[in-house]
């Protein structure tokens, strides 16, 4: 027995203070509830919330420029786009290395199509340059190779650039010839970065790209840009520094230094403008510079018909402005559809709520059957009905209301989308309206009439205000569903009756501009969440009923 004195705390059977014991029980209860919820919560977070977050992230993500042209992006930082001149030699030399690397991996066309979204036409520049860039420095290569054929071999370069330990490991790897074992990771020779800065950094890029695949460094043809970089390095470096380079290639390097002394300095810019004049165009460079950041508002600007320019953000050219129009059309048509649903749903909900229960139950089936029927069945039904050779046109022609020669065009336009979607969303309007109207006592109307109100006044001043919550709930529900619709507009909407969601799908599956699709989706999601918040305030999400 616990001793319970009058002043002491109340105790539970096991002697702990009651307060503590209750708190523990409550905590346990909370934990149990959370443990039951946890599996589903984690499941939803991983399979649903994470993908949505990924999409939001993708709408601002822009790694491709910085990843494909890393050197150029760094070099371009200092370029003043307002100067009216294309960037200097430094940038072009960086571009040569980046392009060589990108063309090797065939990713320059991807970058071209990415930038093409912002600057139409730029993709052909990238495609064309990708073909030509591999030849930049060919002349220098020939000269070096003429002087000593050893320069042609990749082993020569590996021996010159790689550290002694790496060379040893590499030789072992070649001897072992083990399947599935990757070539040892390349390491630069000590001191070479100081002696030949351009060449070594270019080679390091080459080594990284080559080794990221399955190719071996000693089996891969050296890039022509090596020779340009080497010539530049040799021209600027002092003979002592060159002499300090150790390893097998040292003698070769000494010899090359003598050869290179007679070379003309290489003009990268001229080499690029020879391939395509577009490289001398300031506009193209502005595009590259504007979109070189890893995160960009570009997709969002694009989604609202704006673009980035040196003068700040401005509207896109007239003929490219489509998204604002599409958003407005989506909103407008969704409102129209919601209005039609309300117009048709209100009388039906009223009659369902005021009929005898047995009759109402039978009529309710007519509302619930479309609700349960597959969306595609209903859409195909409308396609069959509305076609020019379809049932409605046939009946109209048969009744002589429409001439056979000019049958009504009711599909593949806004009319088709509105009719089909009104039919599809009507149950979503009727059900909330019905559940609210069911709670309005019919005696109120009779009371109003007995007090002398005309039927219209009685309806408008007494009944209608009480049905407003149902109107709000049904309208928001219909509107939320309508603005995100994809299937029905796609099938019966033609070009004039499509929504923003169809554009999103187009960018995902056809144009592959995923960033823009994500930005459009984010805007749409924002609108829906806002409406959802309003819905939650008016109706409360716990009050959603089905069937």
């Amino acid at each position: 027995m616990s001793d319970t004195t009058q002043n002491g705390p109340m105790r539970a059977a096991d002697g702990t203070p009651l307060k503590k014991s209750l708190a523990r029980a409550l905590r346990r209860q909370k934990l149990r509830a959370l443990a039951l919820i946890a599996p589903l919560l984690i499941f939803v977070l991983v399979t649903f919330i994470a993908p949505i977050a990924d999409m939001l992230f993708r709408s601002v993500q822009n790694d491709i420029v910085a990843d494909t042209l890393p050197r150029t992006v760094v070099a371009l930082k200092d370029w003043d786009s307002t100067s009216g001149e294309s960037p200097g030699e430094e940038v072009f030399s960086a571009l040569a290395v980046d392009f060589q690397a990108a063309a090797e991996q065939k990713i320059h066309t991807k970058l071209g199509s990415r930038l093409n979204y912002e600057n139409p036409g730029i993709s052909s520049l990238f495609r064309k340059t990708g073909r030509g860039a591999e030849d930049i420095g060919d002349a220098f290569m020939d000269q070096f190779v003429d002087a000593n054929a050893a320069w042609k071999d990749s082993e020569t370069w590996a021996g010159l650039m790689g550290s002694d330990e790496w060379l040893a490991e590499q030789a072992e790897w070649v001897a072992a010839k083990a399947e599935g074992v990757k070539e040892p990771k390349f390491r630069l020779r000590d001191g070479i970065a100081d002696a030949l800065p351009r060449t070594s950094s270019t080679y390091a890029t080459f080594a990284r790209d080559t080794q990221s695949g399955t190719k071996s460094l000693v089996k891969t043809k050296p890039w022509p840009v090596f020779f340009v970089a080497l010539a530049q390095d040799l021209a600027t470096a002092s003979p002592e520094v060159i002499a300090s380079v150790s390893g097998d290639g040292a003698a070769l390097l000494q010899e090359a230094a003598a050869t290179a002394a007679g070379f003309e300095p290489f003009d990268y810019k001229a080499a690029f403008t020879d391939i395509d004049k577009g490289w001398d165009n300031v506009g193209n460079w502005i595009t590259v510079q504007s979109y070189s950041a890893r995160y960009t508002p570009g997709y969002f600007l694009n989604a609202v018909d704006l673009e980035k320019s040196p003068d700040g953000i401005q509207a896109r050219p007239e003929q490219q402005q489509i998204y604002i129009k599409l958003f407005v059309r989506t909103m407008w048509m969704s409102m129209l559809i919601t209005g039609c649903c309300l117009l048709l749903g209100y009388p039906v909900a009223w009659i369902l709520a005021n009929l005898r229960a047995s009759t109402a139950n039978v009529l309710m089936i007519l509302v619930l059957l479309p609700f349960w029927t597959s969306l595609l069945v209903r859409t195909s039904a409308w396609k069959v009905l509305l076609q020019q050779q379809g049932v409605i046109n046939d009946i109209l022609v048969w009744l002589g209301l429409v001439d056979d020669g000019n049958r009504l065009v009711m599909i593949n336009n806004q009319f088709g989308t509105i009719v089909a979607m009104t039919h599809i969303l009507l149950p979503f309007m009727i059900l909330p309206l019905y559940s609210v109207m069911k709670t309005v006592p019919p005696a109120y109307l009779r009371a109003a009439k007995s007090l002398g109100a005309t039927p219209w006044t009685a309806f408008w001043r007494v009944y209608f205000p009480q049905s407003v919550p149902g109107i709000g709930a049904g309208s928001i529900l219909c509107f939320i569903l309508a603005i995100g619709y994809y299937i029905t507009p796609e099938l019966v909407g033609g070009t004039q009756g499509v929504f923003i969601s169809n554009r999103i799908a187009f960018h995902i599956s056809s144009s592959l501009n995923w960033g823009l699709a994500a930005a459009l989706g984010t805007i749409l999601l924002g609108a829906v969440l806002l409406l959802y918040y309003v819905y939650d305030k008016i109706v409360g999400i716990d009050n959603v009923k089905l069937g």
Binding site: K30, L36, V367, T379, A381, V384, Q387, G521, V528
Partner: protein
Amino acid sequence: MATLTVDTPTPSLMGFTIPLNATAGALLGYIVGTAKGSPAIGVVVGAIFAAALAFVLVQFVPDRRAGRLVGAVVTAILGFFIARISGLVVGALLGLILSWFAYWLARGDYRATVPTYATSGEVLWHNTFKVICGLIFFFLIAPIAVVIPLSFNAQDFFTFTPEMLALDPDGYSLKHYQDFVSNPDWTRPLKNSFIIAPLATIISVSLGTLAAIGLSQSHVPGRRAIMAILISPMIVPLIISATGMFFFYSKLGNWMEGNLGMSQDFIGYVKVILAHSVLGIPFVIITVTATLVGFDRSLTRAAANMGAGPVRTFFKVQMPLILPGVISGGLFAFITSFDEVVVVLFVGSAGQKTLPWQMFTGLREQISPTILAVATVLVTFSIILLATVEILRRRSERLRGMSPT
């Protein structure tokens, strides 16, 4: 309560029964006349016939049932002389309509559902309103109803052929159904749908029921936020879910293929099943929590009191009571997955083509009449589902002691 009855002589309503019935007859006569190529004759004959029918029935046949039968038979015989079998059917139908209308007017039935003090304007409005509602119900159900007869079309047309309208057996065939069950373009998607939907349903029902039970406990920290997250798959437009899942699941698929060495086909199914089960979860949560609202908590305490462990209590006491809610939630989840196109279009690959996907492609590219056969099968399917859910709902209300509404 004693009712006071006043014997007032019933006024003769013939004065407007005959003109109104004649108008209805003229309208129907116009339609029949158009079909036979002479609308004007149709209008005149229809009006005269309807007026005569109304007069004869109301004056000489006091029993409505018999009167309607007479009307139907007479018109059917007339119809048979005009257009054989189809005329017989159409005639019987028209006769029924006209004789029903005549009695409805002449016996004052049109006032039956309005209070006696209603003015004639109000009566007119009341009946107009009923007609409007009828038309809206027609709008709701007609598109679905039209598909069903069209699916038996012997031709590859999407409209009624003259043979079909003449009720000629040659105009009907089951060939579209044959195509549906034998063409691999349709059977493979059907199989896929029946692989994906049940598996997705099992995942969402098992996880969803557990979570709904957790959510219905009295103390849940952050219930609103959790609820919002769990409901979100229903709120977020499908196209956005599909976009997000498209990016995410392609990464997931690559990872599974690279690190776990699974076959591409298997990964495709896993992706679609996961995506569909998350879409079905809100429906399970909503229906099961709704069932749990009326759940008597003292029952579980009583079970615990008698020595049952939590697991035993759940399966023996709680589960049988909430089972109707769980099953109808499961049906919702099933139909969500079974009917879903957008997400599977983005997440799945050709190997996971489902029935709605095939219908979507069919509707967008070469529209084949087999779609109508599939649609009819799906409508039948949804009628069965609807009936099941309705029965379960009533059972659940009875179990919880709520009066059926």
